[in-house]
């Protein structure tokens, strides 16, 4: 069979993709909010470190650890937003919500600000930007939303699907 014959030379044949990503069809804005809240939480921990009476060494280690985690969580927020914006929001979704591009961009800016410095208001802006993004996302999905306060620190209000 020709296919079997050619497959023996598979490593010499260039590949071409029909998709730039695996089209699993699973998109959920809650993961964006999850990372945004985690970013804010890391900021709060960092801001509270000076009151903990740590030794200089312990303070430095803890600050380094939480700073790295803060930046990781902010980057994850951006990454998950890019996936939803890039792979899910298209066609009729954007006709109905042409501001989706701006909302995604606002998350990028807010998350970058969280990475660059340690201002709690930047973290709150990030959560708020993600909430606005979530409202639009769930409307695109045809799912109603509700606002809930997350039952853990930093206990901020989040937009959740009303399932």
């Amino acid at each position: 069979m020709l296919y079997n014959l050619i497959s023996k030379f598979d490593d010499k044949i260039a590949g071409a993709s029909a998709h730039c990503d695996i089209p699993c069809g699973i998109y959920d804005a809650r993961i964006v909010n999850y990372y945004a809240v985690s970013t804010l939480r890391q900021m709060d921990i960092l801001l509270g470190l000076k009151d903990k009476g740590l030794s200089d060494t312990a303070f430095a280690m803890q600050a380094a650890r939480n700073t790295a985690k803060k930046e990781e969580m902010a980057e994850n927020t951006k990454h998950q937003t890019r996936i939803i914006w890039g792979d899910f929001m298209k066609g009729d979704h954007l006709k109905k919500h042409p501001n989706a591009h701006e909302l995604a961009h606002n998350i990028m800016l807010a998350a970058s600000a969280c990475k660059q410095d340690l201002h709690r208001e930047d973290g709150l802006k990030l959560v708020e930007a993600c909430n606005k993004f979530a409202e639009v996302f769930w409307d695109m999905k045809g799912v109603k939303t509700k606002k809930v306060v997350c039952p853990y620190e930093p206990k901020v209000e989040l937009v959740e699907p009303d399932l």
């Binding site: 296919y3 029909a18 298209k90």
Partner: protein
């Protein structure tokens, strides 16, 4: 590109002689500057470039692929070699 092409299928391509020879409805391999080497169906050719889309509803939308310059188009898929056999690729109805 499912159901036209499935993962692991082989295709034979022929290089277009010029942009004028590009044929909407046929499948092409292109080197996309952001998305890498893609295989997509040609929708239309416009002055700013060629527009492609996939056969699968979940494919990357055409506006995300954008207008592709002619030099990025490597060839038209003419033959598909799959475990089911060999067949010529036809234009979209």
């Amino acid at each position: 590109m499912s159901p036209t092409l499935e993962n692991g299928d082989y295709i034979l391509i022929k290089k277009p002689r010029s942009q004028q020879k590009l044929r909407p409805g046929f499948i092409y391999v292109l080197n996309h500057e952001r998305l890498g080497r893609l295989i997509k169906r040609l929708d239309r050719v416009e002055p700013e470039g060629a527009w492609f889309s996939g056969d699968n509803p979940r494919s990357t939308p055409s506006d995300r692929i954008g207008a592709v310059p002619p030099k990025a188009i490597k060839g038209q898929a003419v033959l598909i070699i799959s475990p089911k056999g060999v067949r010529r690729l036809k234009p979209r109805d």
